[in-house]
Structures are given as structure tokens and as C-alpha cells.
Amino acid sequence: MPCLNPDGTLAQTAHALLTALETAAGTAPALAAQTGMPLWQVRSSLRELRGHDLVEVAMPGAESNDALHRLTATGREVLDLSRRLDG
């Protein structure tokens, strides 16, 4: 699922993943279990979120799709902004 809606707001899946990563880093399988999203969808979304610099691999060099991911400063900022927009 594309992470950003056409109007630039966070898609539901992206919002759920960023929220899940807000308190602790997580792997794709762990995030799938936590959010209830299919694993393939989590992997695809993490790849896109990495492309937008909203999440990053926690251990540099470990670029595997199932590596530990964490929020970036931009990701945290976008998540906060998204919440403010949601009111």
C-alpha cells in the first residue's frame, strides 16, 4: 500500500507502522504480528518508508528487508504532524 495518500497525508498502513515503531524498533515479522498486517505488506511498506527517509535500518549495513527498523527524526516529525492534522 503506498505510504502517502495523493494529498500527501500518511496512508493508514504507514501510520500504523510508524506508530508501532514509535516506542521501539522492530523487524518486519514483529511488526506484522503487532499490527495484524500481512508480512508481505509490511516488507513492502518498510521499503517505501525507507525510501522516504521515514524509517531506517537500526544497524547500518544490515540492509535485509527483515532487519531491525526504527523511526527517523523525519518519521517522528511526520507522525506527529499526521496526528495534529487528524485532530
Binding site: P2, S44, S45
Partner: protein
């Protein structure tokens, strides 16, 4: 036509990798690693046989999911066409299509999987279906002509048989149905044949315990 050479995947070999747009965003084959995958092509959106197949596949999705098997569709249509068609199916037939559908506009994936049959159509993919195991190895292939819809119950039976035989290290006989006995793999040595149960054919032995 894409410049990608037309190949035909082979049983027992790694499925060709890809990354393509879909109704659920950009998807790569590796996104499905760890689960069985039914990757299938259909000739075109908004066509009658394909619509019946999608409705039948949606009806089988839960049973396939219980087998740790995901569905992934593909056609040489745009993602906008896919979205419009899936919304129409839901609106007119009451069936939500939850599995993703690849928009293989440049035919790059179709070419890698031998889904293009120029003798049938120069503009559409044929009805090709691949079952990939959790490591991305091709375990089964089904090719149907454009004019005949696939038997989705057979697809479920095939996936059930593949997952069951993989777990049991056994083989499935003709017309096998879930719950029925499996077959011992044929011995590959004289010594292996000699230790088969007496009274049974050395090469065809039903497994008595699951």
C-alpha cells in the same frame, strides 16, 4: 514489447525475481518469502472469465491463507484499471478482492515467467499459475488457455498437496484429497527396495500413518 528475454521458469529452480507496482503498492517477490505463493496471470481486467476466476479465488483465499499461502495476481493492465475493475467486482458481485494484483504494464514480469503466448494473444498474458514455496522455489506450474477458466478447487488441492507432501516427505497419488493416505516416495536403490514391507509392491506403497 519489453526487451526482457522471454523465459519459462523451471520446476525446482528459484522463481525469477521482480519488483512491480500493484494494487497494494510496489511489491517484490522477496516480500512473500516465508510463505507459499500462488502467482497467477490473467489476460485482462473487465473480461468475463477473469472476473469469475477472481471471485472464485477470493472465495478460496481464506483456505489458502490457512495453508500459509498468499495470492498474487498479474495482468498487462495499469494499476488504475485494476482498481476500477476490483471496485466493480465488489460493487456488482459483492466480492472484495483483498489479494494484490501486479500492474505489469511493460510486461517485464510476464516475460520472465513465460506468461506471454504470442500464438494466443500478442497483447495479453495467458492464464498461467505458479506455486512457489516459502524459499521462492517453483513447485508447480499450470497453463490454461484464455478461453477456459481455471479450476480454483484444483489450485487449493494442489497447494494442499504440496504443503502436505513437503511436511510429510511423501508423495500424493492421483486424485488425492486432503485426509487421504499419501504414498511413500519410490526407493532409489536396490537396498531401499529390499526393505519395503513384504506383500506390497516395492515401488508403490501407501503410507499407513499420516
Amino acid at each position: 514489447m519489453s526487451d526482457v528475454p522471454i523465459n519459462l521458469p523451471r520446476l525446482g529452480e528459484a522463481a525469477p525475481d521482480f519488483e512491480a507496482d500493484s494494487t497494494h503498492g510496489r511489491l517484490a517477490l522477496s516480500d512473500f518469502r516465508g510463505s507459499w505463493l500462488v502467482l497467477f496471470s490473467h489476460p485482462a481486467d473487465f473480461t468475463p472469465v477473469c472476473t469469475t476466476e477472481f471471485i472464485a479465488l477470493a472465495g478460496a483465499a481464506e483456505r489458502l491463507s490457512a495453508l500459509n499461502c498468499q495470492l498474487l495476481g498479474l495482468s498487462i493492465d495499469s494499476v488504475y484499471s485494476h482498481i476500477a475493475w476490483l471496485r466493480t467486482i465488489e460493487a456488482h458481485f459483492g466480492t472484495a478482492i483483498a489479494f494484490p494484483v501486479l500492474a505489469d504494464h511493460d510486461r517485464a514480469v510476464a516475460a520472465r515467467y513465460g506468461m506471454l503466448m504470442p500464438g494466443e494473444s500478442s497483447t495479453e498474458a495467458s492464464r498461467c499459475l505458479f506455486v512457489l514455496d516459502p524459499d521462492g522455489i517453483v513447485r508447480a506450474m499450470i497453463y490454461y488457455p484464455m478461453i477456459v477458466g481455471r479450476n480454483i478447487e484444483e489450485v487449493v488441492r494442489l497447494v494442499t498437496a504440496l504443503t502436505t507432501t513437503a511436511a510429510a516427505q511423501a508423495a500424493a497419488p492421483a486424485n488425492w484429497q486432503p485426509g487421504e493416505p499419501l504414498l511413500e516416495p519410490a526407493p532409489r536403490t536396490l537396498e531401499g527396495a529390499a526393505i519395503r514391507s513384504p506383500g506390497a509392491d516395492w515401488f508403490l506403497q501407501v503410507r499407513l500413518t499420516p
